[in-house]
């Protein structure tokens, strides 16, 4: 009797041990998969709002985030003792900047304002509020700083601010590209030689209007 039962008992006991013995093993493995560190956007139970990345305390400035350059960050210049919409770009616009501007414009603005800036983007076609075209006279005269203000604050009732999804330099590159688009819609033959109206003067190489023409 005993002899025949013992292997069975032994097996049962061993399986039991194996089972419970493995649990810590699995736990260790799990601990390596999900370590106590936080990956970006990982949830935490420690703070009430579940964010492991803490928002900045109001009034504090993170290292490298001090924004004294009001031309670059706010789009305003001191003109006649007053802060007004910047008339120029805070850095020289090169051909690469324009290309980047085109890319960023197509990603962030064209969905509403259209690829050539006529305000007929896909989202508008699906029923969003009509976005204005950029080829009205008032907007053609508007300085770069005006556009910067719209990106920072939104416009009217219907356009939300866009600063949160576009890095600072790219905002200016987008504006330079919009200015190129505006010129391209009213291009005169002499424009092909003189693109200097694009501020800052001389910064843009002479191919730019042709470049913009690709988009019609």
């Amino acid at each position: 009797m005993t002899t025949s039962r013992s292997p069975l008992m032994m097996t049962a006991a061993l399986l039991f041990l194996l089972g419970t013995g493995c649990k810590p093993l699995f736990d260790i493995r799990k601990a390596m998969y999900d370590q106590p560190k936080f990956e970006p956007l990982e949830k935490t139970d420690f703070f009430g709002d579940s964010r492991s990345a803490r928002p900045l305390i109001e009034g504090t400035v993170a290292q490298g985030q001090l924004r004294l350059n009001s031309h670059l960050y706010e789009g305003v210049e001191l003109i006649d003792g007053d802060y007004r919409s910047a008339q120029t770009y805070p850095f020289e616009i090169t051909m690469e900047d324009l290309e980047r501007g085109q890319e960023m414009y197509n990603i962030h603005c064209s969905v509403c304002h259209g690829l050539s800036g006529h305000g007929n983007g896909m989202v508008v076609q699906r029923g969003y509020a009509k976005a204005p075209g950029f080829h009205r006279d008032a907007l053609r005269q508007a300085p770069p700083g005006y556009f910067y203000g719209v990106i920072m604050n939104g416009f009217g009732k219907n356009m939300m601010p866009y600063y949160h999804q576009i890095p600072v330099e790219d905002r200016w590159r987008i504006i330079a590209y919009i200015k190129t688009l505006q010129r391209s819609q009213f291009a005169q033959v002499e424009d092909l030689e003189a693109v200097d109206a694009l501020a800052p003067a001389e910064a843009v190489e002479h191919e730019s209007p042709e470049h913009a023409h690709e988009h019609h």
Partner: protein, 220 residues
């Protein structure tokens, strides 16, 4: 019959028991491994429930670029998930009354984050970096599949180590031109092997000395 406890019959029994143990243990481990690799555990091609039924199919086919929402993908290791503000760019007007979007509006009102379910999640002991891949000719679709056809997002690849290595051993099979990275429909095989090898050189991808399969580039 003698009074011996163990008869020769028990020899076979003992061997059998041993075999059963070894075999059983190996079998169990094998089974566990199979389960561990199964699409069921890996969620491969399984649509994940989300707080809002966000559809890449709808939004991407409308002509919205990946970077409109995943803004950091070309600059950082992490491809960010868009904040509620990004949704509100359009849904302040579009489908303003829809119940489906109530969690988005609630998040906007209260400032509390939407809690998206992660679709991909490598173990924490693996280092991955988006910008390195995206700037070296690997398109989103190569790793994530046809996101533009996903009504709810799923994971196309189980993300095994061997999958990373397959490409790291021979990136020339997978590279594509710089202007096709965000193109969902593009197939790298449209170019010939020679053209793709030329691309690998142009990107400056260095596969010499098994550099790209060195354990410490991924396990830092």
């Amino acid at each position: 019959m003698s009074s011996q406890l163990f008869t020769p019959k028990h020899n076979t029994l003992a061997r059998l028991t041993l075999l059963l143990f070894v075999g059983g243990a190996a079998g169990t481990l094998g089974l566990l491994d199979l389960i561990h690799r199964s699409p069921y555990v890996r969620y491969t091609k399984v649509r994940r429930e989300q707080p809002v039924p966000f559809s890449h199919k709808h939004h991407v086919n409308m002509g919205i670029d990946c970077r409109y929402c995943h803004t950091s993908v070309e600059k950082s290791s992490f491809a960010n998930i868009p904040p509620t503000q990004t949704c509100m760019n359009c849904h302040n007007i579009m489908w303003k009354e829809s119940d489906m979007l109530e969690p988005v509006r609630e998040s906007w009102r209260t400032g509390k984050s939407l809690e998206w379910t992660r679709v991909h999640d490598l173990p924490d002991f693996v280092y991955f970096n988006h910008s390195i891949h995206v700037n070296n000719g690997i398109g989103c679709a190569t790793c994530h599949g046809r996101v533009d056809q996903m009504p709810l997002t799923w994971r196309e690849e189980p993300l095994f180590m061997k999958w990373c290595l397959e490409c790291h051993r021979d990136p020339a099979e997978f590279v594509r031109p710089d202007d096709k990275i965000y193109d969902m429909a593009y197939d790298p095989q449209e170019l010939s092997r020679e053209e793709r090898e030329a691309l690998v050189d142009a990107y400056g991808i260095d596969t010499s000395n098994h550099r790209m399969t060195n354990c410490s580039i991924c396990h830092r």
